[in-house]
Amino acid sequence: MSNKNTIVDIPTVNKIARLSRLDIPEASKQSLTNDLNNILGFVAQLEEVDTSDVKPLASVTGHRLPLRSDEVTDGNIEDLVLKNAPESSSGFFVVPKVIE
């Protein structure tokens, strides 16, 4: 994902915040940038290990992706599904108008 040379700057933090729909106060942007750079720098130490002979690994547990058979076992719980919705009407979630 990144290497030692990756430097996160304030415009990058702004972009990530916008993509994540996070409202970050101007005052905390610099410290957040520092934190991100520290984290990335820490993780980048892994790149010092020679992995040229190691196959990519998705899991250390040795488990395989569990499968389920094609049966309807769930659903018909509109009340539960809508329980946390700030607004709902005749079974629908109701949200401020979103139109392209």
Binding site: K15, R18, L19, R21, A58, S59, H63, R64, L65, P66, L67, R68, S69, D70, E71, V72, T73, D74, G75, N76, I77, E78, L80, V81, L82, E87, S89, S90, G91, F92, F93, V94, V95, P96, K97, V98, I99, E100
Partner: protein
């Protein structure tokens, strides 16, 4: 200056010369599973709002996706039918974006390692020619929910029933060169999906929809900048949208402008495309492997097992119909479009004149069904009875003209054609003495015309044939009437 003559499809004559279209398609096909890709909620269409939703689909915290085995099988089956490479290891990624009908905040899809890689299919064009279109990949992904914007002036209504339903996205290579080829490509993919049973292909209900990537170039030049037209749900709209989009691009380029790579919508009321005014970051999806899902792995032997369950596919069936029933490749390509067409035809044509059966099925039966708003599965005429009708024609028991009357009767009464012919006394008269009687009557009633004919008015021959046929109520064998009349009027 524009050239004269008819342009080949997919070409546009501009002020500066002829432009060629370059088209690639992304088809989204809903897998015909009972339950969703990663949850046990029903995948059926048209249920009460939010009734087919589990807590996984609603993205409640702590819920884990578990993949539906049937959906994996359908993707592999489809991949095999597309002559494509099956990837024994594939990975699910999160495609991140925000929209009200996507509660997870990401779509689970496959980005770098799809379940199916490159393949190719042959498409049939209207002129009887064929061409090969490359397949880039096929991957599994979740569908999004549905937003209704017309229920309230300032609110949108969200139904998550479709959220998490399994889709296969089939991506073509940019090998398509005209709107007509694009239409033929979608038709072929739809046909293959229906044969395999992976998708019902219902475009009206949205089970099959296409995004079209369109660009234009002068022949032999590099590809131009493309635009993507989203979410087209009929072959007619696909053809219209591509044509209008390519014309728009030619106009821009010829007036010195540049094409912006963007996503566009097709407005069915104007027949034109318009920009979706997407935000600048819309395409920054920040894909990464879904940490909730291990890679999907399966063995070659499992793929081989699935291969054994594949039905005979349209291309192979088409060849067989041409060989076994001596019909034209064009007729065969119509008959293999749907599995039930071929089944019907093979039953009807068994032991009959294949070409004649194909004609009656494609022209008369399909025409009549369309008129009555029926499909082949609820056809009042069984394949056996259509075969019997063809047999009555080939044996000369009835003429082709009478056969049309019998056919109309069959559509309403469901009786067998031989019963109808017997009940109504419609057998063709091929007996010489019977026909001679009719000829004598016509000659004695039209003495002046006989004299005119013998005096050189050759054209009157048709009149005599017509009179004899009329007298026989259409039942006389026209070939025999012709021969006997010629003898008589020497």
């Amino acid at each position: 200056m524009s050239e004269t003559g008819i342009l080949k499809p997919g070409h546009i004559n501009g002020e500066t010369g002829t432009w060629e279209m370059v088209i690639g398609l992304e088809i989204h096909a809903q897998i015909s599973s009972k339950s969703k890709l990663f949850s046990g909620a029903s995948a059926s269409f048209g249920a009460e709002a939010n009734s087919n939703v589990s807590l996984v689909d609603a993205a409640m915290p702590g819920m884990l996706p578990v993949i539906n085995e049937f959906c994996i099988e359908q993707a592999v089956k489809t991949g095999l039918a597309l002559n494509a490479k099956i990837n024994n290891v594939s990975v699910f990624d999160r495609k991140n974006y925000f929209y009200a009908d996507l509660p997870q905040g990401y779509q689970i899809s496959q980005f770098t390692k799809p379940i199916v890689g490159e393949g190719e299919i042959i498409i049939d064009l209207d002129n009887g020619k064929q061409t090969t279109i490359g397949i880039e990949r096929l991957h599994l992904e979740q569908d999004a929910g549905k937003s209704l914007h017309d229920q309230h002036p300032s609110k949108s209504f969200i139904d998550l029933n479709r959220t998490g339903v399994a889709l296969m996205e089939i991506v073509s290579k940019p090998d398509i060169r005209s709107p007509q080829e694009a239409g033929a490509y979608v038709k072929k993919i739809r046909s293959i999906l229906r044969y395999v049973g992976a998708c019902d292909g219902n475009m009206e209900e949205g089970s099959l929809r296409a995004d079209c990537n369109v660009s234009v170039r002068k022949s032999g030049e590099e590809f131009g900048t493309r635009c993507e037209i989203k979410n087209l749900n009929s072959i007619r709209f696909i053809i219209q949208a591509i044509q209008s989009e390519a014309e728009r691009q030619v106009d821009i380029l010829e007036s010195g402008g540049k094409i912006n790579q963007e996503t566009r919508l097709f407005d069915t009321s104007t027949g034109e495309t318009r920009s979706m005014r997407s935000k600048e970051d819309a395409h920054d999806y920040r894909y990464f492997p879904d940490p909730d899902l291990l890679p999907l792995e399966f063995s070659d032997s499992w793929v081989q097992e699935i291969k054994k369950t594949l039905p005979e596919l349209p291309d192979s069936l088409k060849k067989r119909l041409v060989n076994d029933f001596e019909i034209t490749p064009y007729d065969a390509s119509i008959l293999v479009e749907e599995k039930d067409y071929v089944d019907f035809y093979q039953k009807a044509a068994k032991g009959q004149d294949g070409k004649l059966t194909a004609n009656w099925m494609i022209t008369e039966l399909f025409g009549a069904l369309k008129k009555e708003n029926l499909t082949l599965s609820n056809s009042p005429i069984s394949p056996e009875n259509l075969g019997k009708l063809v047999s009555l024609i080939s044996k000369g028991t009835i003429s082709g003209k009478i056969a049309k009357d019998v056919f109309v009767e069959m559509m309403t009464s469901k009786n067998s054609p031989s019963d109808i012919v017997k009940d109504k006394g419609l057998e063709q008269v091929s007996d010489d003495t019977e026909i001679l009687k009719l000829i004598d009557k016509v000659i004695s009633e039209n003495k002046d015309k006989v004299n005119d004919y013998l005096g050189g008015k050759d054209k009157l021959f048709g009149f005599f044939v017509g009179q004899v046929m009329k007298l026989s109520q259409g039942k006389a064998n026209p070939g025999i009437v012709n021969n006997l009349l010629k003898e008589k009027l020497k």
